[in-house]
Symmetry: C2
Subunit: 345 residues, 2 copies
């Protein structure tokens, strides 16, 4: 069962990446000369795009670096790419194969910008075109639904942030991530039982905010890929600007609500969903305020620094998605209609 074993492999992958690539990351950051960069311009699809959402928040908050998410069709179909003056152009792709992501880096290079590939395939076309390559070293990922390459991409992004900040403390915090993930993996059996309740769920929303906006998107994507549930992700703020109208009594809302700057805002919307709209809540959190509100609470270790919670909080979401797939009678290693490498233009 490759999906399940790849989920379990994550602590090993994260530790390996941190130890073996720290020097490379620091060299890349030094070589890029960040003082000349006004913004990051990032291209990615699917799971890697969700990793990009983490970079958007993390680099914005920790490194003051604004980010523009690329619109690949302007490069591939319209042939009218924007000017990228003073941009750091980044592509994230497990396979390094998708022509649209490659075309963004090719254009970035043509315009004279520094280009960086974050990939699990350092001999790929994407890596070949980039000035700098960060190999996430997750090892072959056989399952169609990405898990260990997602957390490895997050780790790569967090390492780049630590290197840009120049703060030694950040690296010490990063060294604890593998242990926290290990602790979450012990919930495997508990989550397997909890997932049974959603055997007949057909749709849901997934809420996260700030750093865990990315987690909401990735949890929703795993559910769509594996369980075929129409799971739509939102920031808790965007959700209130219209989509909350969907929620009737019993409507399932999945949420990620660890301690941190945005917890108060998450607690407020969760309380409204529970008390006023009578929604069903599945909540990943490290604090009793959020966990006590859930029909199904999924707890992660306490005292994780907020910026690293996405690397840990996605793991119970992966296990939940995996076990729900089995509960629904689908094959987690053979999702219908999709394949490991998707080449889009």
């Amino acid at each position: 069962m490759s999906l399940h074993s790849e989920i379990l492999e994550q602590p090993t992958c994260l530790e390996r990446l941190l130890v073996s690539q720290r020097k490379t990351v620091e060299q890349i950051v030094q070589a890029i000369q960040m003082d000349d960069i006004q913004f990051a311009f990032l291209a990615a699809r699917g799971t890697s795009d969700n990793a990009g959402r983490y970079a958007n928040y993390l680099w914005g908050a920790m490194n003051s670096l604004p980010m523009a998410l690329a619109t690949p069709s302007l490069f591939t179909y319209y042939h009218q790419p924007p000017r990228l003056k003073q941009a750091l152009v980044i592509g994230i792709s497990q396979s390094g194969q998708s022509p649209d992501i490659i075309s963004v880096l090719t254009e970035g290079k043509r315009q004279g910008n520094p280009t960086l590939a974050i990939t699990n395939t350092p001999c790929s076309p994407l890596a070949e075109v980039a000035d700098f390559v960060l190999n996430i070293q997750a090892g072959p990922e056989l399952a169609v639904a990405a898990t260990k390459t997602y957390t490895a991409e997050l780790m790569a992004i967090a390492m780049l942030s630590a290197a840009m900040s120049g703060k030694a403390d950040r690296w010490k915090e990063l060294a604890q991530v593998a242990g926290w993930v290990n602790a979450v993996l012990e919930l495997d059996e508990t989550i397997s039982q909890a997932a049974q309740r959603y055997r007949y769920m057909q749709q849901c929303v997934v809420l996260g905010r700030g750093y865990n906006y990315a987690t909401a998107f990735e949890w929703a994507l795993k559910l769509k890929e594996l369980t075929y549930v129409a799971a739509e992700p939102y920031s808790s703020a965007d959700f209130q600007h219209g989509p909350v109208a969907m929620v009737a009594k019993g409507f399932p809302v999945l949420a990620i609500a660890p301690r941190g700057y945005v917890l108060d805002s998450m607690l407020k919307i969760l309380a409204y969903l529970k008390d006023e709209l009578l929604a069903e809540l599945v909540i990943i959190a490290d604090n009793p305020e959020a966990l006590d509100m859930a029909q199904v609470p999924l707890s992660i270790p306490t005292h994780i620094p907020e910026w690293l919670t996405p690397l840990v909080s996605i793991v119970p979401a992966q296990l939940f998605s995996y076990h729900l797939t089995l509960a629904k009678g689908y094959d987690p290693d053979k999702p219908r209609s999709i394949s490991k490498v998707t080449e889009t233009r």
Copy 2:
């Protein structure tokens, strides 16, 4: 019935905005000194955020201006906003009330950037904080679900693009938009009948690409707000990176596929959805290739320049959403749980 009458009002609103604000738009663009700007930094929520998606593609393709979509929580909760050097900071909001959008402009101003508010409420807090205000002049919008302010925001964005380009042809094309929208409104009765078929639809996806990526998001939002259908929007490329797994026989896929650079890519995915996955298709288009594939084709006038198709193609989507709301027995003027002005931080 205010929602329906506001949909019908759109040609008048668009014409008024174009005629009365052209000079203001040209003055704003001149005053901003675009040569000093490396990227646009845009904050918006809900319907206005979808208008922002149009700006992302249009200004990128037509005006070479890259865009970063703001992450408001970095401003409101984290208090760690990114540096915005050489950015044009823009807020789009019908009401001009939402504190998160205001805080992005306040910070942009603090950092010394030019700031622009696009709003229907020129006496709002958002307008007060901005250096430049573009009043979309749509008149009071009473329905909770935004329609005429959406197309007016698109028009404002298109006018800014025309002014930045300095090309007279663009203004001539803009002058035809109201007429095209008028032509689509004649389909009101046809669309009312077509919507009956989806009385029991509970979930769907909405596909668009390039300029009409925004249309897919806005159609999905109207469906969620009014009909409570779990409607998830995608670019056709993102959709293939995982979510397509949801599609089983009869799964409803709504799509916008007018002529233009991305039509071939849309036709390819639509043919796959129809022939291989046996999906149900509702398609808004101006060409027989796309329309012939649909169980329910919704046609818009031919020969609309691609960059202006979003201003026209959303109109049948609005009518579809409105009539489906009635078919499902809901009140289009009183969607549950949401109100006209949503104030989030």
